[in-house]
Symmetry: D2
Subunit: 408 residues, 4 copies
């Protein structure tokens, strides 16, 4: 790889990416453009601008954007149409944000004629893979710089030293080791590392930053109604809201009732296991709601096909293959299934859990006429079941006959 000349950095404004910024300037001698996104992580972005300026970035090279609507509309919602869950439990909150960041990094690189992008993910995790696969898929000629895999700033002491030598301001609480590492966006907050590394030990309560504990949640359940159109949530309690606004509102519901906490050991794409503490308050509600509306609007053929492909779809997103032909093929299949996933569900929120307790839709496939215990006046002839069973049994009978024959 020839040396990069101009690089777009995914810049949070924090100490680590500030060190990267400086390191890129000094190590590679390249011009740095910063990209700071509001993905709903709950931090103000203007300090990132000030800090970038302080570190010598030209104003026209500082990009600060609110991408929350795009994030929910084009990434979170398509993923929830699939009921995507990684390894049975994880709602993919970090995974789904990375491709959007890479997409903007590459687009900004093209605007500026930059030949490289850089990110602050380490060489042990999944995020490096997600950032880089997305970048390469969008621009096969782009260079990607991952300083954590390259530099020798391999301890906190060395990092602080580098920061001091380079006049990078250091917040007081960043001098020492953080007890664990945090990532957040509108969909979730994840915490991992250090104090959380032993999967046998319960995570201490102070790790949870996004939700009250179930024990402290209200003693009275709350009911909400979520309305869907073609698989996407469009209204809460009858009020139409934009994608990001809906997720924000569901987050508030989830936070209040202690919903969406997960203590999890997962398999990273790079081959090791890691333990994470995840909080996905609104997403957990959204998943239950979406499953509820699918219960009455999808038939078995569509539903079971989706279910059987979900693990693969989730794995693709987890592993960083959002911008891949196979993810897009699966998305086409999933989106096709959602054409009639329209209607409303009623949810009960209480002390850490959310349950669908009612669902209705003009598009419902539920037929009381067919299912009723009452005499049903011809909708369904029970005698049909005899033939149905006999033909389903035929091959099993032939096997049993064969087995009896050969055992003689």
């Amino acid at each position: 790889m020839s040396a990069p000349k101009k690089v777009v950095l995914a810049y949070s404004g924090g100490l680590d990416t500030s060190i990267i910024l400086k390191w890129l300037q000094t190590e590679y001698g390249c011009e740095v453009i910063t990209f700071t996104a509001d993905l709903g992580q709950g931090e103000e972005l203007e300090p990132a601008r000030a800090k970038a300026e302080l570190l010598g970035i030209k104003p026209e090279n500082i990009h600060i954007e609110d991408v929350r609507e795009e994030f929910v509309r084009d990434f979170v919602f398509p993923m929830f149409r699939a009921n995507a869950v990684y390894e049975g439990l994880y709602l993919l909150g970090t995974s789904i944000a990375r491709p959007l960041i890479s997409k903007r990094l590459v687009e900004i690189a093209h605007e500026h004629g930059a030949d490289a992008v850089a990110h602050g993910a380490t060489g042990k995790g999944n995020d490096q893979v997600r950032f880089e696969l997305s970048a390469y898929a969008l621009d096969p000629m782009i260079k990607v710089i991952a300083p954590w895999r390259e530099w020798d700033l391999t301890s906190r002491t060395k990092l602080i030293e580098f920061a001091e030598q380079n006049q990078i301001p250091i917040a007081k609480d960043k001098r020492g080791e953080a007890p664990f590492s945090v990532d957040a966006n509108l969909l979730h907050t994840s915490s991992e590392g250090k104090a959380l590394e032993n999967p046998a030990d319960e995570a201490p309560d102070y790790v949870y930053q996004r939700t009250v504990s179930p024990e402290e949640a209200p003693d009275t359940p709350e009911y909400i109604e979520v309305t869907f159109e073609k698989g996407d949530a469009v209204a809460i309690n009858g009020e139409a809201l934009s994608p990001a606004t809906i997720l924000t509102a569901l987050n508030e519901c989830g936070r209040k009732h202690g919903i969406g906490r997960l203590d999890f050991v997962e398999n990273r794409f790079v081959g090791m296991k890691s333990r994470g503490i995840y909080e996905t308050p609104g997403g957990t509600i959204l998943l239950e709601a979406h499953r509820g509306i699918e219960q009455i609007t999808l038939d078995a053929g569509a539903g079971h096909l989706k279910d059987s492909l979900m693990p693969r779809y989730a794995e693709l997103i987890y592993n960083g293959f959002w911008f891949s032909p196979e993810r897009e093929m699966l998305q086409a299949l999933i989106d096709k299934s959602q054409e009639n996933v329209t209607g409303t569900v009623r949810l009960k929120l209480y002390k850490g859990s959310v349950h669908c307790v009612g669902r209705w839709s003009d598009y419902s496939l539920y037929s009381e006429k067919h299912v009723t215990f009452e005499e049903d006046a011809g909708a369904y002839d029970q005698k049909d079941a005899a033939g149905f069973i006999r033909l389903n049994a035929l091959r099993l009978k032939l096997i049993a006959t064969r087995n009896a024959r050969v055992k003689k």
Copy 2:
């Protein structure tokens, strides 16, 4: 089908199967043998014996058996090794009991030289399919009688009339329509029909018979530890227990904390949707526990393969194909994966939810040495990730290059 001469009836001792018993005697003029199983449904069985005798069944033709250990050991536990869940949420509590009943019906038929078995499932549901596919798979020559599909006793009035004409005792509360129908065994209780038929309406609290409501559950969480060997639970809080005893103990934990309630609309195999209220207290805990121990003892290759096949496995059980080559093939795959699923998980039970908060095992694949944020002295070379990503990206780059070329 020629007329059956001797039939083994799945007999609960209740009004409906008593009517069937009598109807078989009068309609087909055949000798009836009764089979009443203790599957953990929580009812005494001796009254069934007395009632069968009252209806003229010879003592040697009355079979009453406690099959709880066999049920959990040979049916429930193998199924939980797969983390089987139907349509994302249903733990298959009714489905998994049917094949065992059919197996005993056929075995008893062979002992008695009977040529038929009979069951009390209706022509609209899944249970008829499960009973009959199992019976045919075990004996291709057996006849199956499903009175609900044949007779003209199609209303409660006619049933009561038939009972009165045939001196079948009728409990007072059975004269009128039950507000809904109930099935129970050691794994779960299901309620459906009539009052529950509108899926838009929340099920009233009195429907739940097996668990306290989360609101009435203790205000303080309880922690328990479950130990697994080769995928099966073998001890609670360090005390070794038999399969049925473990499930009984977990049921008590779940009952007390309001765990395992489910309001669900599902796709029946016979083509219609139905709504059920399920309570699976111990099973819900067991599933969370099993997932927890798999998190540290299964690698990604094994875990993801299992995950991707689970929906199909669950569908097979739901549809009644327990005794089929494909279920047995999947079971061989799943059992192979469980050889090292041994260890202990710690669970938190609180007001309707159960969460794994710790797990440990001699068989753990979790490697703190690899995952740590600390410098790791050679266990993992972060530079390897660059090559890993670049080769994973290669095909995506080739696609992007192609796409750019053809767009020109």
Copy 3:
């Protein structure tokens, strides 16, 4: 089912469907509308018109249509995009024609205000299922009459008797039993039954009607080139042709070289096995050609996802679920994959086999620069492979380490 008043019959003009026609008139007393389609079966259709008139059908009730282009464009080609093969070998030639016939039956029923459709498939085969599932999916209120399942004309003698009583002309060669049964359309000819029922015996050569035997095929290979656009064949040897014309031309190539014969035992949807002799000359060439062009235009992610879903897709078509949500979902996925499946393949035809021996495309993903044994000037860094392998191996190493540890 209340008695049908007006019925649209899938009418071939042959003896069997003429008997059905008369039986519908006499048994049900209903008005009969005939539908005769040219699907490329290679028979003239006007005799069917004459015969229908002779049997008393009003001219305005006789529908004769050439649907060959629709058949290939909307049914055969979408299926070949998937490389669909049932049970490893069968190209689904009969299966794919049924939904089109049902679609037209239902459409004509709507035009005429008919309340029923009828077909001549027996109660043992797959075709009844395919006809009826399609009809019900397109009109849930339609009645379907399947005389072979209803009437008592259960032997050839009774059929001939009925024909004679009803003045139905009987061709001389139809008086006796045919040695086997034949179905044909533009995609294939199938032969089954009677003389072919023993799967141990080689089918006699006279069974094959559509292809010369490989032994009689030319002694010199022939080369042809087939061009694809977005997954569909559009030209042969550079000459642009319509869908049906292309398949016709490929059939001629295949016929001449003895290509596409298959002696097969398959699992019917209704639970039994059957043995069929299939001839799919053009389709066999088309499949090899399509695979050839996909080899250079699809990447591994897209290709492997398609491959893994193909058996399910083929099973859906075989079982009659063309008009189902899950087939349409899979089609959306498959069609998405075909966007760049454009290019040309060169095929060698010789004595029963067809092989792709060359393929080229502007959309090719093949990169000689990457794959070459020569030094490649930076396109690919072989050292990347070391990291790629090490991270792919990491979980395997962790397993081996665990296994060694617990064995001590």
Copy 4:
């Protein structure tokens, strides 16, 4: 990686691995142990011994073994039970040999207390991955040396120079560039690279080394019978043979009739496409034979499950994951399915193609009684099909009803 002290080299006796041998001695200064396996590649092995001795390897460090029976019994046959085919066409002839070689390399390393193994695969191909994943899975502490990824002997000129400097004998025909590269074992011969790199050009006939061309094959078909037990071939024309002997005999049949040639463009695991010419004479016959016997001994449930998992199983073998939990899980599933795959097939071999034309078995599930066009005296009630179809159609009807309703 610390420097290896003693290394086991996969040694063919050819120029390239002789250069590697010397390079390991000079570059790493380590003791070299050679392993030369007879996998049926058709070369004498004693020259490899002589050459190893010439290059200074101590006699006790030279391992020459005939592993043909183990190869076929424990690798080829288990794979053929699955009908494994990569990307629709490739029979995995190279892929399946690598894990066995790695297994012996690691075992010999353990015997000698060696700390490393080495192989002669390049950094662009799949074989490096297969060798190394297998080695790491069997010994997580083993070092693997892949000289082609490390050294600077990157051109033929440099290699020849190194050989001359190190007194390595060079056969005359090895001085220049070979027109393509060849790999062979009992299952297949593959040719790739250089002259074959353009996938548009037909491979010249001299590339094929293992089979006559179909044009030159006998003008008369030959029939053979292959007998299977539990999925494995055990006899040809009634003569019981060992695994390797059977494959050898089938190879001779295939060679003579020009069977098993494949011109193929495939997706390598490392991300690029490559073009290979494969000859798998006996394997191609074996696959057709195995499919034939499965046609009558496997039911649809077992067969379709196998079919749906085959692509994943083949991909695992292609990618080098033979020694992985997921391959072993799939193998358990496949082996379970083969318990009754016992019987005999009759095959017709003629000018490049092989077709199953008859199959019979005591374990057959084929029931002439059920499938016959004749009246069948009660084995099958055609009226059952009506109920079967109506219940299969129910969900489609409910969808159609819904769709009609919402369109109003």
